[in-house]
Structures are given as C-alpha cells and as structure tokens.
C-alpha cells in the first residue's frame, strides 16, 4: 500500500497545531484564571501595627476582584470536600453557603457575579491554595485598601472615609456584581463597597489585649477602650474592620464576608 504523502503532511500539521494550541492554552489560561494587579511594596503605618508602628510590605500581586459565586461553584465542583453538605464541622459553621439551594446551585435571588460570601477562613484558604495563591495578610490588605482612585494612601481624605462609612449604611451590597465600585490606584476593585474580606492572619488582631474573653460578642465591637492603641483614632472605618477580625473565628461564616487571593512576586 503506497504511503499517502498528503496524509503525512496532515498529521504533521495536526501535531504543529496541537502544539500551538497547547502553548496558547497555557498562556491564556494563566491569564483568565483571574486578573491580578501588581502592588509595589512600601512602608506605611497601619491602624494597629507592631512596636515600630511602621510596617513594610513586599511586592505582590492581588486579585483585581473578589472571588465570585460563580467561581466558587466551579471550585466546589472540583473539590467535593468543600461542598456545603461535605465540609467538615471543624472547618465551617452551620451557615456555610447557607443561601445555596444545593451543593452546586445558588438560590435564584443570588447573583452569580456577586462576591461569594458565607464562607469560612478555611474554605477561603483552600480556594486560594488551589489556585497556587494565598490569602493576603491584614497588613497587605490594608495597604492596598488605603488607596482611592488616584492616591496610594487616601486615608487623610474626608471623601475616602465618607465613602466607606456610607457603604456600611447600605444594605445588601453583597449581592452586587464585582467591579461595581471604584477602581483604585493599584487597579484593584471592590475593596470597599461590596463585602468585607478574609485575611490570612485575621487572628492576629487582639483588639482588647491578652484575653479574648471580651471580644467574642458583637456588643464589644463598639467598645471605645479598644480603640486605644490605634494610631488614628479618627479612622473609624478601619477600626470596624479590625473589630470584625478580632471577633471572628476561622470557621465562622458571614453574609457580608468574602475574600480574594494574592500571590508573591516569585
């Protein structure tokens, strides 16, 4: 049987195409996984710092948007142990993904493009880990979040604080789509205005000192004495975030608490 030259060339072409596809696929896939913004490190004084007050942040990448409901559905499909019915009680409380209709379906009132909420710290850690990323530290998160549209540190501006405080008064912002608030100096969206976000070392916030006894009830969030030690007593918006962190436990889930991931620069 004579060998068909055309056949060989078509096989060759297929191999080449296959190769190109594969290369294209990895580059595009790496990109579409979720967009990240590059954050240039620096030093700043957070609301609650260390003994030296100044905190130094290294260069890193941060997700441009919080993780959405849609993305989290895809995650639990691939990782069944994080399904609502399977997640272990050590890692999630009873309200984990409470609004979801089933293990992989949202309630009809939920927006696929809204940030995923009602997830625990453990679930957030697992998600980021799965992407080859991690949760931001409190200091990293606060560093990026002190920016407004034009300034890397907009904290002294009245408008900056007013925006955050007026968000606190708005109900149900957790069901708004990602990207619906402002794009900040670093190109990151929605740090303020949709949901609060988990941080890797949220349990480093000891708002009231040695014992956690007086930080486990909501009523203590407003305890004035806890603000002593804060570098900026006027920064009530940030104080609220620290208070929430100080009163959280890792298996807690909240309707207005989501997350996003970060990655080290190499």
């Amino acid at each position: 049987m004579p060998i068909n030259k055309e056949h060989i060339s078509s096989v060759n072409k297929a191999i080449v195409r296959w190769g190109i596809c594969f290369v294209l696929f990895w580059t595009t896939h790496a990109d579409c996984q979720s967009k990240m913004a590059f954050i240039t490190g620096g030093t700043y004084v957070p609301l609650y710092g260390r003994d030296s007050l100044q905190v130094t942040i290294s260069n890193f990448f941060m997700d441009v948007y919080p993780i959405t409901n849609e993305e989290f559905v895809a995650f639990v499909r691939k990782n069944p142990k994080w399904k609502k019915s399977k997640a272990k009680k050590l890692f999630v409380d009873g309200n984990y993904l409470v609004q979801w209709k089933s293990d992989i379906e949202l309630d009809s009132s939920q927006n696929l493009k809204a940030p995923v909420t009602s997830i625990s710290w453990f679930a957030a850690i697992a998600y980021c880990d799965c992407q080859g990323k991690r949760l931001p530290t409190v200091d990293e998160w606060e560093y990026v979040a002190m920016a407004n549209e034009n300034l890397a540190d907009a904290r002294p501006l009245k408008t900056y604080n007013q925006f955050i405080l007026s968000w606190y008064e708005k109900p149900k912002t957790y069901n708004n789509s990602i990207g619906s608030t402002f794009k900040n100096y670093w190109g990151v969206y929605d740090l303020h205005g949709l949901v609060w976000e988990w941080t890797s070392d949220f349990n480093s916030v000891l708002v009231s000192g040695e014992s956690r006894k007086d930080v486990d009830k909501d009523s203590n969030l407003f305890c004035g004495s806890a603000a002593i030690g804060a570098t900026d007593l006027m920064n009530y918006a940030a104080f609220m975030r620290y208070a929430i962190r100080g009163s959280s436990k890792a298996k807690y889930t909240m309707r207005n608490l989501g997350f996003r991931c970060v990655k080290d620069k190499n």
Binding site: S10, K78, K88, L90, W121, N203, E210, G246, A250
Partner: protein, 236 residues
C-alpha cells in the same frame, strides 16, 4: 478545522482531570451493611445481620473502604489537620499520631518572659493534680507560636530546664501556616509584635482521645478546678 476541534475537545477533557490535590475526600467510614435485595430501599446498618423482610444475610457495602473504627476521625476532630510537626526529640509527626490519649494543649514560645512562664506553670500545676496512675492515658502538648526560633533543640532545652521532659510531655514546632491553622482551630489569637515578642491569648485546651475539643481554660493563674474535673472525666 476538524483537527482543531478534536484538539480542543482533547484539551478540554485533559482540563477536567485537573483539580486540587487531595480532591477526592478520603473515605474514613466504618463498615456499612445493606440488604442485597434492597427490601428496605436505601436503609443501611452498621453491623452484619439479616434483612428483616427477606431474611437474607446483609451484605457489606464498599468493602474496600472499610477501616477499623479506631481510625475514624470525626468532623470536629483536630486530627483532620494534616500538617507536619517536629517534636523536641526531632521526630516528624502529624497531630493524629497523638490519637488515643486525652490531650491538654497550650500555645507558647520559649523566649517569652511575660505570660508563657505562668502558662507553663499552669500546665504543670494541672499535671500535678491528676492521678499518677492515669498518666499513660494523657498527653501534655506545648505548641510553639514562634516556629522560627523554637527549633527542636530549643524546645528540648526548654523541656529539660522546666522538668517537662518525661514521656507525657511533647513540644511541637510547626510551619508558619501550620501554626496559624492550628491556632484557628482552637480559636487562639496571636500576633508578632517585635522580632522576639508575641502577644497571644492565654488558653489551655482539653481534647478527648478522638481529638475533639472538650474544654478551654482562659486567662493566667486562674482556678483550674473545672479543667481538672474535665480531664478526670476523660481519663477515667
């Protein structure tokens, strides 16, 4: 064009295989039995026997996943954590290697000058008040919140210095992430406030032999009567 379509489909299928490591949950179940004729629908039993309706022998479901009950780890157990730890004897362990004994756990760091010596004293105080003959049923574990400084050598020196080097004392060095995760499982807070100092919650936790949290004592030098009572119930 056909070729490209096939290739895309092929890549798609390849992609589906990707999932996080450890994606398939381990099946820790005990043996389950059911009627081979399914007379009672999906009803299953935890031990062998006969079907109440057709009287046939119950059949074991998924024999391959069967494990002894001692291997069962409940949802609330800290033995679900799979991080690795190094002891003061330079042995690498997982928390589940501590299974089978009542655990009294505390988080400290050895360079601590303020609260930790008192926490350690509290631990020794608790130990002293428990019956000697039950020692083999309990284990005292001190987990370092400063894994960088507290190497196995440091921990060993600390153990000797504080006369806590017997069998039933274990000191653990973890990884930074592992320690953070462990602290979160016990709802412990800590923060590095300078290169050599941490502030942290002062909590002693009591866990049963299955790794489930039973009791937590908060504060320094507090009355540990309740803690001791709980431990006595567990080691009986």
């Amino acid at each position: 064009m056909r070729n490209i379509q096939y290739i895309l489909i092929f890549i798609g299928i390849l992609l589906l295989q990707f999932s996080c490591r450890d994606g398939a949950a381990k099946n820790n179940g005990v043996a389950i039995f059911e009627c081979p004729m399914h007379c009672e629908g999906d009803i299953t039993y935890n031990e062998p026997g006969n079907c109440k309706i057709c009287k046939m022998d119950l059949m074991e479901v998924a024999k391959s996943v069967r494990k002894v009950e001692a291997d069962y780890i409940s949802e609330e157990s800290i033995f679900n954590l799979t991080t690795k730890w190094v002891t003061e004897e330079n042995r690498t362990i997982e928390l589940k290697d501590l299974k089978g004994k009542t655990l009294v756990m505390v988080m400290i760091y050895t360079t601590c000058k303020a609260a930790c010596p008192r926490l350690v004293a509290d631990m020794r105080n608790i130990e002293k008040q428990l019956p000697q003959e039950n020692r083999k049923n309990m284990h005292f574990v001190l987990v370092s919140i400063d894994p960088e400084t507290d190497t196995p050598e440091h921990l060993k020196a600390f153990a000797l210095e504080n006369q806590m080097d017997e069998e039933h004392w274990t000191f653990l060095q973890g990884t930074k992430d592992g320690v953070r995760e462990f602290a979160n499982v016990l709802a412990m807070k800590y923060k590095q406030i300078s290169p050599i100092d941490f502030s942290h919650s002062n909590i002693i936790s009591v866990l049963n032999a299955k790794g489930e949290l039973i009791h937590q004592q908060e504060g320094l030098g507090v009355d540990n009567k309740e803690t001791i009572l709980k431990i006595k119930e567990l080691i009986r």
